[in-house]
């Protein structure tokens, strides 16, 4: 995914992008964070609101990354990081974990993406030239969570837009994305284009429009 792209010279940092996503979490939500940038959401203090982090490997209610030397090597989040558990945590097996996902109990899944369309489709499992891909739990989460938020770079290294009219890459799910935080701002796919919720400091509407492959709406 876009994780290896260096932060853009202007606009939001990676953590600031995650901050924008976490700011939308409501008290009591069950939240699933994808590998890479989405995990930065769990660094954000959103008190007095509290959310429950769910990881597809059956961890319900995990907390911060374990301090060095205090890791439980049998406890990882979806990204393989050794996390801690908060009071009230519970473990389930994989089928039960995806019962939670498929059953519609996840209030929001936050993922990275290669592309997102104005219609709310997004692509994050296969790059154009590849024979295979890495789906993991993304298709289950995307199809079944109550909300899909994306955190991603606004453009590729070569400057091609990742917010587009129609995805060129194979999609992960269709018509599911409701919010996209990028290095240039926060946007909502609304069908005819992306509605601007917020532009990052120093990013003009014109600069954002030039970097976007679909109409920007105010």
């Amino acid at each position: 995914m876009s994780g290896s792209t260096p932060d853009a010279p202007l606009g939001f940092t990676r953590q600031q992008m995650a901050d924008r996503i976490a700011a939308r979490f409501e008290d009591g939500w069950i939240v699933n964070l994808g590998v890479g940038m989405p995990t930065l959401c769990s660094n954000v203090d959103i008190a007095p609101r509290r959310v429950i982090y769910h990881s597809e490997n059956g961890v319900i209610g995990y907390g911060p990354i374990a301090p060095a030397g205090e890791e439980d090597l049998d406890l990882v989040n979806a990204g393989g990081q050794n996390v801690t558990l908060l009071a009230g945590a519970a473990m389930v097996h994989h089928a039960d974990s995806f019962a939670i996902i498929r059953g519609g109990r996840i209030d929001v899944t936050v993922m990275g993406a290669y592309e997102v369309s104005a219609g709310g489709d997004f692509a994050n499992w296969k790059i154009g030239r590849a024979k295979g891909g890495g789906i993991g739990g993304a298709m289950d989460l995307a199809a079944c969570a109550k909300r899909v938020f994306l955190v991603m770079e606004h453009a590729t290294r070569s400057g091609a837009p990742r917010l587009v009219g129609r995805c060129a890459l194979p999609v992960t799910a269709r018509k599911v994305v409701s919010l996209v935080a990028t290095n240039l701002g926060v946007f909502a796919p609304v069908g005819e284009g992306f509605r601007i919720h917020e532009l990052a400091p120093g990013v003009t509407r014109e600069a954002a429009a030039a970097a976007t492959g679909a109409k920007l709406l105010d």
């Binding site: 260096p6 990081q81 498929r102 295979g132 890495g134 079944c144």
Partner: protein, 245 residues
């Protein structure tokens, strides 16, 4: 009653024939039967169909994984949720064999994979799921609407052998997992004709685990093997973090 404890890892996998279908539990390091996978590599069975979340090799240090068996030419087909790395910049050991056509792969969403295994164990031949609707994976698949929403038909995924890893077992085969070690272990046990579990702690007498605290009942488990202490036995390692640009 049949004795479930096997004297060593080699004995636990000795009879696995060429062409077998084997599921490997594990998600990241936890709950992965590294020792059984290594024993299978030694044992030499080939033309295998292997089922796991990943083919391995995405994290360091590298541990025994499907990729290792592919490298040794033992694998006909893999059924998994990742045939390539999550990050476009990473390359899995498996991927180059797959792209070269030296091994087949069936890419399955992780939740569908878990549910297909459970279905096999639960005597459910097929079920409908909303996952993957509208994607490339839905092409040519049977679709059906229930209450106005579109679903895909998915089939049970029975396996010949399941390789499991648990923290604790009693001699009846009752298993307890520690934390996220649980992951695919219980559903792969259910899906298997023969489930083989490598056990971390000394195996307990029957009755030593409270019946309410059993995670996988012994009736699903056919063979137990004690993991040797390191360095002979393989144990989870702390992941080496890659430096991010």
């Amino acid at each position: 009653m049949t004795e479930k404890l096997r004297p060593d890892l080699a004995a636990a996998v000795a009879d696995i024939p060429d062409g077998a279908t084997i599921a490997f539990a594990g998600f990241g390091m936890p709950g992965t039967p590294f020792n059984l996978i290594a024993a299978l590599a030694e044992q030499g069975a080939k033309n295998l169909t292997l089922i796991a979340n990943t083919t391995g090799g995405a994290q360091q240090p590298r541990m025994p994984d499907i990729g290792m068996l592919v490298e040794r030419g033992r694998v006909r087909k893999v059924i998994c949720a990742f045939t390539a790395a999550t990050r476009a910049s990473d390359v899995l050991p498996f991927t180059k064999y797959y792209e070269a056509g030296e091994v087949e792969a069936e890419l399955v969403p992780q939740g569908t994979l878990a549910e297909r295994l459970r279905a096999a164990g639960a005597g459910i031949p097929a079920f409908y799921t909303p996952t993957a609707v509208g994607t490339e994976l839905a092409e040519g698949r049977e679709r059906r609407f229930f209450n106005g929403r579109e679903y895909l038909l998915e089939h049970a995924l029975p396996v010949d052998y399941a390789f499991l890893r648990a923290r604790r077992a009693d001699a009846s085969g009752n298993l307890q997992f520690h934390r996220s070690q649980r992951n695919f272990n219980p559903v792969m046990a259910m899906a298997a004709r023969i489930a083989i579990a490598e056990i971390e702690e000394p195996i307990l007498p029957p009755g030593a685990i409270d019946p309410d605290a059993v995670h996988t009942p012994g009736i699903f488990i056919h063979r137990l093997v004690q993991i040797p202490p390191p360095p002979l036995g393989l144990w989870p390692q702390k992941r080496q973090e890659r430096v991010r640009p």
